[in-house]
Symmetry: C2
Subunit: 221 residues, 2 copies
């Protein structure tokens, strides 16, 4: 009587559908954490997920899309836009939560992945939209509009460029620096650039906030 060669070896029942898919995406996440993005290989993922490459390619057309799926699945969604009644705090909290989304992955992994996203025009859009359902620009816009309603800022200043400015600057800082911008960098961007542009009093252009960094009131979630 012939031994069932392959199946007997692993002893694992054959997975299908969602269960298999979850296993694969978990494997991607683990490979990202262990090797970073540059050294994440399809073979590696397949091996770790105890499946085979064709199974991957039946679901995702290539490596980048596979990783997008994994990040979209495993990354915590940033919360509802904060509404503390103070523009600066709202911005700091929101930007902070954005920057911390992938904190349980090594920086290099995230950085390398994002760099790779830049190559394809379609994937750049994914990046711009923050890998999530709701675009972070929309959230920023909502936060700023609420500040308008409170009378904190003048609506005339809310041009699209200014609204997306904090994201643009932090993205650039991450891409160029290779490091997730610190709270301090976030504070500088807000206090030296964004808030002054929005005409919020207390910025370095008017009173004495110029010297050091402002008291870091960025909460730690």
């Amino acid at each position: 009587m012939r031994e069932p060669v392959a199946s007997g070896r692993t002893g694992a029942p054959r997975r299908r559908g969602d269960e298999l898919e979850r296993a694969i995406l978990d494997a991607v996440w683990a490979e990202l954490a262990e090797h970073g993005y540059d050294r994440l290989t399809m073979d590696g993922v397949a091996a770790r997920a105890r499946t085979s490459k064709p199974v991957l390619y039946r679901r995702w057309p290539n490596r980048v899309e596979l990783v997008i799926a994994a990040l979209g699945r495993n990354a915590p969604d940033y919360r509802e836009p904060p509404d503390t009644g103070d523009l600066r705090t709202d911005l700091a909290v929101f930007l902070g939560s954005l920057l911390r989304r992938f904190d349980d992955l090594p920086v290099d992994a995230v950085h390398g992945f994002l760099v790779d996203l830049m190559r394809d025009p379609q994937l750049r859009a994914v990046f711009r939209n923050g890998l999530a359902a709701e675009g972070p620009v929309d959230t920023l816009s909502a936060i700023m509009r609420r500040a308008v309603e409170r009378g904190e800022i003048d609506p005339a200043r809310l041009t699209p460029r200014v609204v997306s400015l904090p994201l643009d600057l932090l993205r650039d800082a991450f891409l160029m620096g290779g490091v997730v911008p610190s709270d301090r960098v976030v504070a500088e961007v807000l206090d030296e650039i964004v808030l002054p542009l929005l005409g919020v009093p207390g910025g370095p252009a008017s009173s004495g906030r110029t010297g050091g960094p402002p008291p870091s009131d960025t909460p730690t979630p």
Copy 2:
């Protein structure tokens, strides 16, 4: 076993040193122009330069460094910092010349190249310094300091972040958009963001700015 190659097969005299190096870098440039950066291969360069891969690797350790060398050689240096007596004009001229440095290459080639630069920390520095001797940030700084001397702007506003802001924003626009920012984009960045931050009157957000600029005697451009 390897057969001895018939001598004089190519008929071309053997090049050396600088001559050979120039031929190689020209070949890189041509390959960039023809195939873009992503599809530029070492074999392709070697073939076009009528030499062989070892010759390339004896000079440059890898593809990116080779392309850096080619761009550094062939790209026109941006001119001396403009000094028109008007800050906005100076900035527009300088930024425009920066953006036009690689205009005789297809956009994809430059974009793909820059994206690849982002992978390596050391190469990011190369990028930041503008692939040239003098860092563009230094030039920006000089331009702005002259504006200070003319009394156009308040020196207190010249924080490092603000000085490099135009570069950061245009770089981000290029990387994210895949297109060299148009003059219109440059104008928006200047008029909506940089100049208002510097407290230059005339910008859309400048009227009634907090802590406004020193009463300006600068005639409107």
